[in-house]
Amino acid sequence: MALILDFAVQGAQMLLVLLLAPLLTGLTRKVKAHLLRRQGPPLLQPYCDLVRLMRKEVVLAENASWLFRVIPYLVFAATWVAASLVPTFGTGLLFSWSADLIAIIALLASARFYLALAGLDVGTSFGGIGSSREVMIASLAEPAMVMIIFTLALIAGSTQLSTMAAYLISGEAGLRVSLGLALIALIIVAIAENARIPVDNPATHLELTMVHEAMVLEYSGRHLALIELAASLKLLLYVSLIACLFAPWGMAAPGTGIAALVLGVVTYLGKLAAGGVLLAVFETSIAKMRVFRVPEFLGAALMLGLLATLLRFVSGSL
């Protein structure tokens, strides 16, 4: 009976992230529109878009290989698994033992690898540009992410997200400079990985500067729906990752009752909303960078990660 209950909670988390992801995207768009004094699309617009795309017929390029048709499912599956492993409303769920930060990064990296392949598959020049830029950004963002993981793992003594969150929630870590540096580095990496504004513009389709949209330009119908859903899930994943590591308050501990779980869900919703609003404010206040400036931006994240690890070693030796 206990096993079934655990299963139900884990399943609830998987469904919750899937259902909330388009809402977060919609919220960000809505707040951004309001800040620009526009009305903006309704909050539920991303769901309508997804349903619409699901119903449409798929148009495939003549020289598209089987890989091109398989990749949307692969990308979606990898991202969904990664997103449902991050602790959202409670730690110590049934699959928490596998929620290793390095495994999550590997899942996301393989999703990106498939997507870059899809960009190259049809052989259009836009896809090629998108793939090459995406890989360039990834080659800088991933080392930075690994440094952040090192720092957090050194502080918490584990790379497992549940253990980390439990350690940070206990307050033993205190305020640490390394944690602050890691937070800023993680935010930079999250912005770059989700193709948000200083690095890439998620709202444009006809610019020579686009990265993510250039790769998925050839997709249509249900394939496009899956890729868009995966992109929303990735945004949700990063927001919940930051929330679970740096604002872990309110998460239900393992073995607590329904009330704690409900409280966890409510605080999680609050954190997501705060994340979406902050992201929109940040995006409105900044202009998009030239592509050649992106390495400097991400280099700063890498440097902060290095600095955090360094400081962690120093204060550990005191």
Partner: protein
């Protein structure tokens, strides 16, 4: 001394180092001045926190000096100088942002190694503060080296002085007289540098200091 007081002091000193890196990253003069004002503001917070935990009321005066002079008066004055010189466009640097950041990392590591070796047996709070202060000083020096523009060098000099104040407040008991005289000499230096900026511009039509090298005959 471990606990929240230690953590907050540590956090403030660490954010000063972080803001020094932000200064290295900025390549526009306006943004640079804003970051410098932030640097001085965080310094004031850090000094005020030290005053609170050491229960040393004269440090509040130091914090007020940092807040009024360095976070408000000097950035505003530099702003006006930039507008009057008409050079608010861009800074060109001797080395790129990436290289400057890497060198900065090396300097931070160096100051950590040096300070922790030298001060074994001291209070951990003071040790960490000293290490951070030395990094801020070295980053200010690096900033002066990597900028060719005179205004950028002035900002580097001022943030170097911020590092000195951080070091002095971390090590208990700097007399108030010394602090006030340092603050005023900084102000005087600022005025002198401001006048020099205009003189340099008058003579060479630029505030790019490589013009001076050419004038000395070092570069043809």
């Amino acid at each position: 001394m471990r606990g929240l007081t230690f953590d907050i002091a540590h956090m403030l000193a660490g954010s000063l180092v972080l803001i020094s890196f932000l200064q290295l990253y900025q390549d526009r003069l306006y943004a640079l001045l804003n970051v410098f004002a932030l640097h001085a503001f965080v310094l004031a917070l850090s000094v005020a926190w030290q005053a609170y935990i050491q229960s040393a009321p004269h440090l509040y005066v130091t914090a007020m000096i940092a807040l009024v002079f360095k976070a408000i008066i000097i950035p505003v004055a530099l702003h006006r100088i930039i507008v009057r010189l008409g050079i608010h466009r861009e800074i060109e640097k001797v080395v790129g942002v990436g290289t400057a950041m890497l060198i900065g990392m090396g300097l931070v590591a160096l100051s950590m190694v040096v300070m922790l070796r030298v001060t074994t047996g001291a209070d951990p709070l003071a040790r960490e503060d000293l290490a951070f202060a030395l990094s801020v000083v070295l980053l200010g020096l690096l900033m002066m080296v990597t900028r060719r523009n005179a205004v950028g060098q002035v900002v580097g000099f001022m943030s170097l002085e911020n590092g000195l104040v951080l070091a002095a407040t971390g090590a208990k008991g700097m007399p108030l007289v010394v602090e006030i005289s340092v603050a005023f000499s900084i102000l005087i230096a600022f005025i002198v540098i401001g006048i020099f900026l205009f003189r340099i511009r008058e003579r060479f039509d630029t505030v790019d200091l490589q013009a001076l090298d050419r004038f000395r005959g070092e570069r043809r």
